[in-house]
Amino acid sequence: MIDILTAIFIISSTAAGLAAILVVAERFFADYGECLITINNDEKRTVKGGGSLLESLTSEKIFIPSACGGRGTCGYCKCKVLKGGGILLPTEEPYLSAEEKKNNMRLSCQIKIREDIDIEIPEELLAVKEYKVICKKIVDLTYDMKQFIFSLQEPAKISYTPGQYVQLFAPKYDGNTEEVYRAYSISSDPADNTIVELIIRLVPNGICTTYCFKHLKEGDQALLNGPYGDFRLTDTNAKIIFIAGGSGIAPIKCMLHHMQNITCLREAVFYFGVNSEKDLCMVDTMRAFEKTLPKFKFVPVMSRPEHPEKWKGETGLVTEAVLRNEKNADQSEAYLCGSPGMIDASIVVLKKLGMKESNIFYDKFS
């Protein structure tokens, strides 16, 4: 009996000794002290070394867009590292083009802060804030699309450019064990800077959309950060061709509100592509825009109407409708928002109509 106890004691104490060595070693080796992050040669932040760059920036309330929560799977959290990032890691390589590698672009979630580090991020990211919001209203738009209106709590106001997006935080819930951020375009009227409206389409098994559709209720608290993105209207007077599919209507709606607010008289057409009657939404809102914006036209396009005899509008793919209605687009600008397939097809068509690639602006879902 004593023998067994001694044996167990000896083995356990050996294991404990090894564990103690490891703990001491970790204290000693994994302590990087305080490190200084210099942002755009100007802002300086002191953080505790050892964490990832993305984490450290988030804790300093500087938000770099990232969808996967820092696991190195989305490739969004790119930033330019001028000094102190160490060598390029194999985990970053797949997400960086040759051009980006040459420009010292890195994935901020993969870089560990071991020393003082100099980074460059777009100036507007410094304006990005985290907002505590309350879900004020949820409206069913179609069978798989909902409109969410969030009223801002802290900070109470947001300033953004129409076309930009925010990231909504999806917490852990039944059946989901990870916390993620997902990007959604703002669709609200920019005149009211105390609310943020999002249009979200349910993605089967999507972590954040499932949270929005199944768990988020009116009156609930939520968290979002933003604004991000450079999808925005230009200052020219060129004719605008908007093309969107599904929830891609969101940033366009925001831009139209903006045009209405500044009584913009640019000529504009909005081709809205849907599959069938049950996907069509916001028609009344769009018709209302047609009344207040004299040179705006809304063209819904249905690819497979269930009742072709009743459907009076355009049929076929949205690109086909564009090709039918637009003759010459060399003086126009296009703003596209939707699935990568739709956007790529639209770019081909627009170029065929004579549009310059530099006049095509888009926001691709991914």
């Binding site: 000896i10 294991a15 090894l18 490891l22 060598i87």
Partner: protein
């Protein structure tokens, strides 16, 4: 022959036989999971192989000391399984920490494979064989080094073969692990050819 020279010769023979005639993967079928899982590319196979050589060489030595200076005097040698695996795990953690701190380059090429190694049965196998065969410290370290090299040789050649197989048409049911196991079998057969080399020793 003096004692030390004899020991060195023995160590050399054991080292060579661990690479060719008594190859860890191909004769003892140890460390098969990473052998099949991480043999898609020569580059990663080489990285993992190097890490295995490194860890095997050192852990076999440390485990030898732990066995002869802790377990044997206390008559606890039946506990060697547990103690060996604890030592291996602690060693791997420790090395990973040091590499990460001092050489990011080495960490990128080698360090990311280290956690995989804790559960590589070839590592534990070497420590257990050294006890059964009653090797001395020098011979044990040579045995560990040789086994590591042998394991690396096997996985790198497997990766080379699999890279070439990428362009071949393989029946659906055999793709992936299926064809890999068949190739491993053929490689094991080929390695039997080495068994005559050390005859008479």
């Amino acid at each position: 022959m003096t004692g030390l020279t004899g020991e060195m010769t023995h160590a050399l023979v054991v080292c060579f036989s661990a690479i060719f005639t008594g190859n860890m993967v191909l004769s003892y079928f140890l460390g098969l999971c990473p052998f099949i899982g991480v043999s898609r590319e020569i580059k990663t196979a080489f990285g993992l192989g190097t890490a295995v050589v490194f860890v095997l060489t050192f852990t076999s030595g440390i485990n030898w000391a732990a066995y002869h200076y802790i377990l044997v005097p206390l008559e606890l040698d039946f506990f060697r399984f547990i103690l060996f695996i604890i030592i291996i795990a602690a060693f791997v953690q420790f090395v990973e920490m040091i590499i990460e701190r001092f050489s990011p380059l080495l960490y990128v090429n080698l360090g990311i494979f280290l956690p995989l190694i804790t559960v590589n049965c070839a590592i534990l196998g070497v420590s257990l064989f050294m006890v059964i065969r009653d090797y001395s410290l020098i011979v044990t370290v040579a045995y560990g080094f040789g086994s590591g090299l042998g394991w690396m040789l096997a996985i790198v050649s497997m990766a080379g073969i699999r890279q070439r197989l990428n362009e071949s048409r393989i029946p659906y049911g055999l793709q992936g692990p299926g064809i890999t196991l068949i190739i491993a079998g053929l490689m094991a057969l080929a390695f039997i050819g080495f068994s005559g080399v050390l005859q008479g020793r």
